[in-house]
């Protein structure tokens, strides 16, 4: 009996000890396409950190914002979450992410938090709530051989020149000049058009509030500009259903040379280059990138990117922070997450761009702006995005006139600003 008690006690102690040193299981929600690469990166992290295992979880970007908001509100959700720059303040307001100054007790970043770009977008109530992870923007992409075939010698630099070049390509080759996603992510080129003409959907009113920074006539003119491509049949009407720049219809047209110009983010361009090289080994790459079009003012695109946040409901803040630090190291961007630019000044300065990517490098370094008043006004970039994309869709599809769409959009912007 005594032996049995000793054995039982020993077994109990062993179980207790093993529980104390049991594996920590973290969940990392990552929504980009590089799932296999990220799994390989996490495998390397697990090998370097025995006792920590990481489950990789992915959901569609379109659902990820509200999904995490719902989970966080009821004490659930992944430990480390990959979100858009402009969602960080919302997540902080909802109280579902941990402030960075509480996390740094578990370790500092190699070059300090100040080395990260766009940290202003992580600030809420005077504190930072996320770590900028990757940076991106959109720029122009050209199929140089198609432009040469059409006799377009100089790359367009203004929106008017872009339209003229599209007309030339259509007339000389029968191909598509400039094509764009006309649903959902038309939000980006539409804003670039406004910004490059000194306009903005939301601006500070000088009295501590916010107001629309564009008139009905100016909005209608912007809608008419994009509508011209459809009305003159410079692009197939099917673009009305295209939501994203990486839609197969757009990318395939660039790959097979039936389209000359497009606008897209960095990672899409890198995927395009890879796809071309894979399909045409050894062939000269007929792509170039360039800065976005200018209007009455210079070209401007958004400084976009992703933030990493730690869920305030996590049971393992130290390990979550350890994972987050690993994900921001240079090696991750060099080996695994190669389609993205790191959101750190030191790492950005060390990037060696391919000649085809110089337009993106120029755009990112010299012609970007943050969403600024869009995010700070409290209207929410997501809400403005949805309203704008639907107004553009309404006007371009012929559901309403451009003036009616502009009027409706301004009414809606004023409503969300009031709210």
């Amino acid at each position: 009996m005594r032996k049995f008690l000793i054995l039982t006690s020993a077994a109990g102690a062993l179980l207790a000890a093993s529980a104390a040193f049991a594996d920590v299981e973290l969940t990392f929600r990552f929504n980009d396409g590089e799932r296999e690469e990220m799994r390989a990166a996490l495998d390397a992290f697990e090998a370097d950190n025995p006792g920590i295992t990481v489950e990789l979880q992915t959901i569609a970007w379109g659902d990820s914002r509200e999904q995490f908001l719902r989970e966080g509100a009821v004490g659930q959700g992944p430990d480390v979450v990959h979100i858009a720059f402009v969602w960080t303040q919302e997540m902080a307001e909802a109280g579902i992410v941990m402030p960075i100054d509480e996390m740094t007790q578990y370790g500092e970043f190699a070059n300090g938090f100040d080395d990260f770009i766009a940290t202003d977008l992580t600030m809420y109530d005077g504190r930072a709530w996320g770590v900028p992870w990757s940076a991106d923007t959109w720029a122009m992409v050209y199929r140089t051989d198609v432009l040469a075939e059409a006799g377009v010698e100089a790359m367009p630099e203004t929106w008017d020149e872009l339209l003229a070049a599209s007309r030339t390509v259509a007339a000389e080759t029968g191909k598509t000049g400039f094509a764009f996603p006309a649903a959902d992510q038309v939000w980006f080129p539409f804003n670039y058009y406004l910004w490059s003409n000194g306009l903005t959907l939301v601006e500070e009113d000088g009295a501590g509030g916010y107001q629309p920074g564009v008139s009905i006539e100016e909005l209608a003119a912007a809608l008419d500009y994009f509508g011209t491509y459809i009305n003159e049949e410079l692009v197939p009407r099917s673009v009305l259903a295209i939501e994203v720049p990486h839609d197969p219809a757009l990318l395939q047209a660039l790959l097979d040379g039936s389209q000359a110009m497009a606008v897209m983010p960095t990672n899409t361009y890198r995927q395009l280059l890879s796809a071309f090289e894979e399909a045409n080994p050894g062939a000269e790459v007929p792509f170039a990138s360039g800065a976005m079009m200018g209007g009455s003012e210079g070209p401007q695109t958004h400084l976009g990117g992703r933030t990493l946040v730690v869920n305030s409901n996590t049971d393992h803040p130290a390990e979550a922070w350890q994972l987050l630090q690993y994900l921001t190291e240079a090696g991750l961007f060099e080996t695994y997450y190669t389609n993205q630019f790191p959101a750190q000044r030191t790492l950005l300065s060390q990037i060696e761009y391919r000649s085809e990517e110089l337009g993106f490098a120029d755009q990112l370094a010299n012609h970007t702006r943050t969403w600024g008043a869009y995010a700070e006004s409290g209207a929410g970039v997501g809400q403005l995005w949805n309203l704008t994309a639907r107004s553009v869709g309404s006007a371009l599809s012929g559901q309403v006139t451009s003036t009616e769409a502009a009027e409706q959009l301004l009414v809606e912007i004023e409503r969300v600003l009031d709210n």
């Binding site: 719902r70 959902d184 197939p236 099917s238 219809a249 997501g382 809400q383 639907r390 309404s394």
Partner: protein, 306 residues
């Protein structure tokens, strides 16, 4: 005091139904009441932990007076519900009559045709919409390829982006995916009709149409009534077909009540406002159900044919 057998039966029945009652209260009544409570607040998805403030009927007023209300209501009632439900009832009846006919039986195709009919029904709605999106695709879609090949069109049609084709395309997807259930249900009802009735009608000189009109149809009406009611409720509340096919676009052209709830709740983050839309939908369906039973008199009809 000894209970009568009837009283004991009633008590037994009550206790046997009690678990179901609890489940209904927990999973239906409580969420409904909670949704009703939220609809009177300005709660957003960012304030779930703090809760919202009471705004009375403001959400209802805003929705019912919004400029887009009429378009959304029209899309939901006419395109999404009335047209698609009418089409699937009509097609379901035709398929059921065909499958029950001597013609199909004579060709020894009864089993094959019934199995083929079940394929669309067995396809999950999400898969059905994705498959149809590919079929409708302007660049690679089989429908455009076929129309171009036959010379019926000169340029590909963006079926899900053109104002003239987008609603018929959505209705096509809904009808394809849901008609088999109607057809199978009506087929089962058809097989309960005594053959002698049609034989007697034929002897009395009734034409095929008259046999259908005065013998078959009255027998099918109770089934058609129930299927109609269920189809209206399922379709009216449906989110998947429109959202996955068009995302409520182009613009807001195919926005319906269910997609409006999603947009307001998860894009605008206004949970209180979207709850109000949900309550409006529930009230509309409850009223429809009450009127439907009143006009169709389901029990009367059963008496007539029973």
């Amino acid at each position: 005091m000894a209970l009568s057998p009837t009283a004991r039966d009633r008590i037994n029945a009550f206790w046997m139904l009690f678990p179901t009652f609890l489940i209904l209260v927990g999973f239906y009544l409580y969420p409904t009441l909670y949704n009703l409570e939220l609809s009177f607040t300005d709660i957003t998805l960012l304030q779930l932990r703090q809760g919202g403030e009471n705004v009375g009927l403001a959400n209802y007023t805003e929705f019912l007076t919004s400029p887009s209300f009429f378009d959304i209501a029209f899309n939901t009632v006419v395109w999404l519900t009335a047209i698609s439900v009418s089409l699937k009832l009509l097609l379901g009846l035709l398929f059921a009559l065909l499958l029950n006919s001597r013609f199909v039986a004579g060709l020894r195709l009864t089993t094959v045709t019934r199995l083929m009919l079940l394929v669309p029904w067995a396809t999950p709605p999400v898969v059905a919409v994705i498959a149809w999106r590919w079929l409708f695709d302007p660049t690679h879609g089989a429908i455009n390829q076929a129309l171009l090949w036959t010379g019926l069109i000169d340029d590909p049609v963006a079926f899900l982006a053109e104002l003239t084709t987008v609603w018929p395309s959505i209705v096509t997807i809904i009808v394809w995916n849901t008609t088999p259930l109607i057809a199978v249900s009506l087929l089962a009802a058809l097989q309960t009709i005594p053959e002698e009735l049609n034989e007697a009608a034929a002897i009395d000189g009734a034409t095929t149409w008259q046999q259908f009109r005065f013998v078959t149809l009255p027998y099918l009406m109770p089934t058609i009534s129930v299927l109609g009611l269920m189809s209206v409720i399922w379709t009216f509340n449906n989110f998947v077909y429109v959202w996955l096919a068009t995302g409520a676009g182009p613009g807001t052209y195919t926005n319906v009540l269910a997609t409006e709830i999603y947009l307001r709740a998860f894009v605008d983050l206004r949970i209180g406002y979207s709850s109000a839309i949900g309550i409006v939908m529930a009230v509309v369906m409850a009223l429809f159900g009450a009127l439907y039973f009143r006009f169709f008199g389901l029990s009367d009809m059963q008496d007539k044919v029973g």
